[in-house]
Structure formats: C-alpha cells, structure tokens
Symmetry: C2
Subunit: 382 residues, 2 copies
C-alpha cells in the first residue's frame, strides 16, 4: 500500500497509505472542504474563504496521484487540483475506530490525579513574567493537572491581576473584577469562622461558568485553613468505575443551581453535575451543595438512584485519598480549572487572620497562550 | 385526593394532592435535601447549609400531614419535622412525564422565529438607562427572541460599553475590550469591500464561547451593508423536522474550530455545531465556515451524511425566508445571543463608510438582571 493513492466508490473516496502503516480513507467532499490552496484558505490567517454552498454537492475525484510527500487530487466538476501533504492527511485521518472510547474519557494532555500522584507545580511570579519557557511550563502544568501555583508575588491588594495578565483576561461578574475572601478569626464568633467548606466548584449557577479561578493569598496567620484541591475528573472516573449506572445518571440528567443572595442578582443554571461531550469526553464538573436548587429534571423512577450517585460523588470528594492540601503563604496565588477541580478549605481557628483575594478568568486565553508558545517553540516545521 | 398527604413505600415516598388536580410523589431524600427550614437553608441568601453527608442515607418519613396550605413531614432517624408549602411542592414536582419532549426543544420563554414572524425590539438608550420597566421589557425581548436594539445612543467611540452596563460585563478577549469593524469603501479595492458575510456565530473556536455580542454603529453611509440576523434555533428545528437523522448527526458529533491568525493566539475548540443538553434542550449553535477546522470526530461511515446535514444547515442559514434584515444608523446598537443567533452582512459598495464597534458579553448577567427585575415586580408573593 505504501506510496499509493487510490480512488474508490466512483471517485467519492480516496484511500492513501499512511506513513506508519495501514491506510486511511477520505471522502471527496471532506477533502474539497478542507483544501489547503490559497483560494480555499487564506494563507495568512488560515481562515476558510469559501462556504459549502460554493462547493458542488456532487463533488467527486477524477484523479489521485502521489507527488513526493503529498497526494494530488483533482475534483470534479470543478476541475480543481489540490495537493495534500501526506503528514497532514495522517494527522487528520478520521477513518478510525472511535467506538472503543469509554464514557468519561479525557483529552490528550490531561492527567487525572488523586492524593497518591497529585503534584503541585510552583513557579516564582517573577520568572513567569520574564521567562517564556517558565511560563509555558507552568501553563502546561495548569492544563495537564488543572492547577498551578505562582509564588513570591507582591503582598499587595489587586496583585492577582498580574497573574491573570500572564495568559488572559479577568471574567468580571456581579462579584466584581475581584472579590475578597476575608474572615477575621474572632473568638466571640467561632461558629462562623471555624467552618471548613466542602469541595465545590464555584458559580455553577452561572452560564457560562467561569472556567478558571485564582485565589491570591495576602494574609494567612490563622491555625489551619489549608487549601484543598480535588480532581473532579478523577472523582467522576472513580464513580464511573465503581457504579457505571450512577455515573450515567449524573451525566444524562440536568441538576439545577441558583443564587439569589444579593440585591438585583438572580442567577440560575440547568446543567448536569458531570458534563460530557456527546461522544463522552469529560468537559465539566458542577458540584456545590450551597447553591444546588431542587433537582426536577430527573424522572421519578430514577431519582433515588440519582441521589445515591450524587451522595457517592460527594463522599469521594470528601475522601482524603482524593485531595492535595497545601497552606498558602502571602504572595502566593493558586490558579485552577473551575470546570474540573473542586476546591475546599479545612476549618481553622485561633488567633490570626486569613485574607485571600479571588477572581475569575477563562481557559481560552490560557490554552491559546500555551498553544502559541508550544507552536513557536516547535518552529516552522509543524 | 385533595388535602391529602400520604406516605408510600415504607415512608420513602410522599404523595400529595396538587392544587390543580392530580397528585405528585416526592422521595424522602429529595424532600430532606430540599428542606426549607433555617437549619438547612440560610434564610438570608437561600444557600444550603448542609451537604448530603449530613443527611442519613436511610432517611425515611414517619409522618406526613396537611397543615393549612402546607404539608408537614417528619424525617427519621433525625426526628426532624419540616413544613413545605403545597405551592412550592407543586412548582417543584418532578413526578411527571418528561419522555414526550422532542430532541431540540427550547426552554420556556424562548420564541423561535423566521422572516415570517421575526420582530425587532427597539428602545432608546436613554429610556433603558432611566426606566427600569423599559429595561426589563428590552431584556425580556433579548431573552425571548435572542436580540434587541438600543437606539438614539451617542455617536461616540466606546459608547457600546454603556449598553453593556445596562445588564452586565464585557468579556474581554484577545480582540480587546472592544474591537473595530471598519471597512472604508475604496473603489480601488472593491474586491474586499463588496463582500457579504455568510451567517455565522462568532468565535466558535473559543471555549467558553462569548454568549452575547454587541455591535454599535458609528457610521453607515455606504450603500447596502444591511445587518442580518437568523435564529439558529429555528434553523436547527427546521433541519430536525425535515431530516431528523441529519439533525442527530450535527448534535451527536463534535466539529472542530480553530483560529491562529494573530501572533501569540491559537484558539481551538471541539464542540458540536448544534449543542443540546443531555435531555435534548437546544443550548448552542456554532456555525462559521471561516474558522471551521477539519472535522475528525465523525466516524467514516457517517461522514457523508454529516456533510449533507452540514450543507443543508448552511442552505437554511442562507435562505431569505429565515432572516430579519435592518440597516443600522449611527447611535444604534444591536445586542444578540451568540449561542443562538447567526449574524450576517449583505454586500455593500459605492462611496461612503461603515464603522461599527463590537464587543462580547455574557448571558448570565443579562438573565440575572432580567430575573431580578421580574422577581421584584412580582413582589414578595413569589
């Protein structure tokens, strides 16, 4: 098969030999739509210049031949010849078995973790600001593990915005550009201050949910008050592995979330606690006991099993075997993926104070900055 | 059945008579989790104070009696008695037939439209800024139809931010807080200036996608250049009704989108063109020929049918029977739902200039402002 390009099915299908063995088929309409010539795609910005309406519905191929490292294809009725690099075709081959993916898969580059293998990536803010390689590595960790910590930053109100500037933009909300997470420990008021918080994602009642959160430490002299992170994707996969039906219920039915605690604010969302793409990729976890509204989209005869799965998910979230814990010191900032990680706080008490500032941002900027850095470091070969 | 509250299934299920006839069942664990007492929910902000771990897994009900307009329920083993208003129970009843919903349903309050019934809501910016009732009506139209126009605003750069302030916050991106949509018509360069743009959603390569877009007109003296909006939900339902299998393909498989046209920017997303919740609600349309990347997540044997559905979707988008068209005048701003509406531009030519400023924002703020206004106008009875 090597070095061959054959037409099948009356010119509607091209079959080529792949560099690593085997072969892959491509449809005429797919190839024509994805043609790489400058009349189809702008060589500068890569954007497509035609719509499907510009491409005849009866498009077929009348000729296909190998030309060096490429395949030359002639389309009819346009009489248009386009060359596709074999490497490009191999990277975009869709003639493969997708059915083996298990529901709840994660995309390439994502590593799920628990207490046994969770690792904390720390990098001084100064290095992130001045060393593109350090920044790329730190963003790669945030993308792979869902979080990373910037250290040795200024102990100054608003300094968290310097961290956001490394990769993107603040998502301003009704809570402001940033918000205060400040609890003064007061012995007369221990009932309020000693409480831990169960692992949760923020703002599940908001659609779109903020996809990143930053928490920047300005004071942390109280006893306890460790920060805890849990990989919600790990929790979801653990639930799936021990109770596939329960996992399916949390993915197939929507929960409801609501927040109306402030004047002029009434936020509501209807989303599953475990969100998958239609083909089963884990894309988001929403879990927050405080803002869960009554669940009314689960059929009556499935509600008890749904609640059992919901309970078990929470037990896994609370399980110390799932968590990474660390105590933040002033000048540190943790950045985490609010669509994947749950964050919690151990209870704290005694004298001292704890003051964090938080803000939201979005993953598009982070992943774009990372991808552009990776692309640039690979050079023009890609 | 009226005025009755009965326990079934060994105290795991409560059945009540509904005010409008019939009955509804509720599970003990659901009722306990959603208890309205001040130990379970904060009376101030409405947030839940307990987690499922605080509620015994073997929760049952030992007693249920009607008390005025409420039902009093006693939970075991906690020996906890909670009263639920019958109205509240009726509003949150989940013991109903959900199976009759057709894939591609839209939520209450959304009205899909085409050229035959699309209506344009216009309101002077001054009224929106000073009359809460006018603002609520305008936001309600934006929520129901996916767009609304503010008129008679200042002809000043950056004035679009005044419109955003009515309901929420700008979503800043790599394109800035806002961006320029400016094309000077120059007869030496007609090839670039006379082009229309196919209906599309913006930034499908961004995740999360900006859920709202604003386009504010500062100059529009060129011939033509009408703005066009198409209800993507209407297009999706039209496709569903004529080709259910094609509709299913566009919902069940992910497309890919990419933009890497600027230095340091490389945005990619993998999402279906027609996004449904797991229970079939239409939640987002992504359609943009310019930034569509090769589709590689559709199985080989479904690719031709996928492309046929994709082509038909585009034909419907291009069909004049789907569109609402209007020519913006300086000082006007159109706000539209970028997860639902497609926007397009008719070609234009001749002397004159066209200058718009655009920005992105999010629906959470819009829907929250609307819901809070609606709630307040209803008063405390709700």
């Amino acid at each position: 098969m090597r070095d061959t390009a054959d037409l099948e099915n009356n010119g509607t299908v091209l079959r080529i030999a792949l560099p690593d063995g085997g072969s892959a088929r491509f449809h005429a309409i797919w190839l024509r739509d994805n043609a790489l010539d400058p009349e189809t795609r702008d060589p500068g910005n890569g954007q497509r210049l035609v719509t499907l309406a510009d491409i005849p519905a009866n498009t077929t191929m009348s000729d296909a031949t190998t030309v060096g490292e490429g395949v030359s294809v002639t389309f009819q009725p346009e009489r248009k010849t386009v060359v596709y690099p074999v490497d490009w075709l191999a990277r975009h081959a869709y003639d493969r078995d997708l059915a083996t993916r298990q529901q709840g898969w994660v995309r390439d580059g994502v590593s799920v973790w628990d207490a046994s293998n969770g690792q904390i990536t720390r990098q001084p803010l100064h290095d992130l600001q001045n060393d593109p390689g350090a920044l790329a590595g730190w963003l790669a960790a945030a993308s792979e593990f869902g979080f990373a910590i910037a250290t040795e930053g200024p102990v100054a109100s608003g300094a968290l915005l310097d961290v956001v500037k490394l990769f993107g933009f603040v998502r301003e909300t009704n809570y402001g550009t940033w918000f205060e997470v400040r609890t003064e420990v007061n012995p007369t008021n221990l009932a309020y201050t000693g409480l831990g918080l169960q692992g949760h994602t923020d703002n599940p009642y908001r659609d779109p949910v903020p996809t990143l959160q930053l928490l920047y430490c300005l004071e942390n002299s109280a006893e306890g008050g460790d920060s805890i992170l849990v990989d919600g994707f790990r929790v979801a996969q653990a639930l799936r592995d021990e109770n596939p039906d329960g996992f399916a219920l949390l993915t197939q039915y929507c929960a409801r979330f609501e927040y109306a605690g402030s004047e002029g604010v009434c936020l509501r969302a209807r989303k599953p606690m475990i969100e998958l793409t239609p083909d089963g990729e884990l894309v988001a976890i929403r879990f927050n006991n405080r803002s869960s509204a009554p669940i009314v989209d689960v059929p009556f005869d499935k509600m008890e099993a749904y609640y059992a799965a919901y309970r078990r998910f929470g037990e896994l979230v609370d399980d110390a075997s799932m968590e990474v814990a660390f105590k933040m010191v002033p000048g540190e900032c943790v950045l985490f993926d609010n669509t994947r990680l749950l964050h919690a706080r151990h209870g704290y008490s005694g004298e001292g104070s704890r003051w964090l500032q938080g803000c939201y941002a979005d993953k598009d900027g982070l992943l774009s900055t990372l991808a552009a850095a990776t692309y640039q470091s690979k050079g023009a070969a890609e």
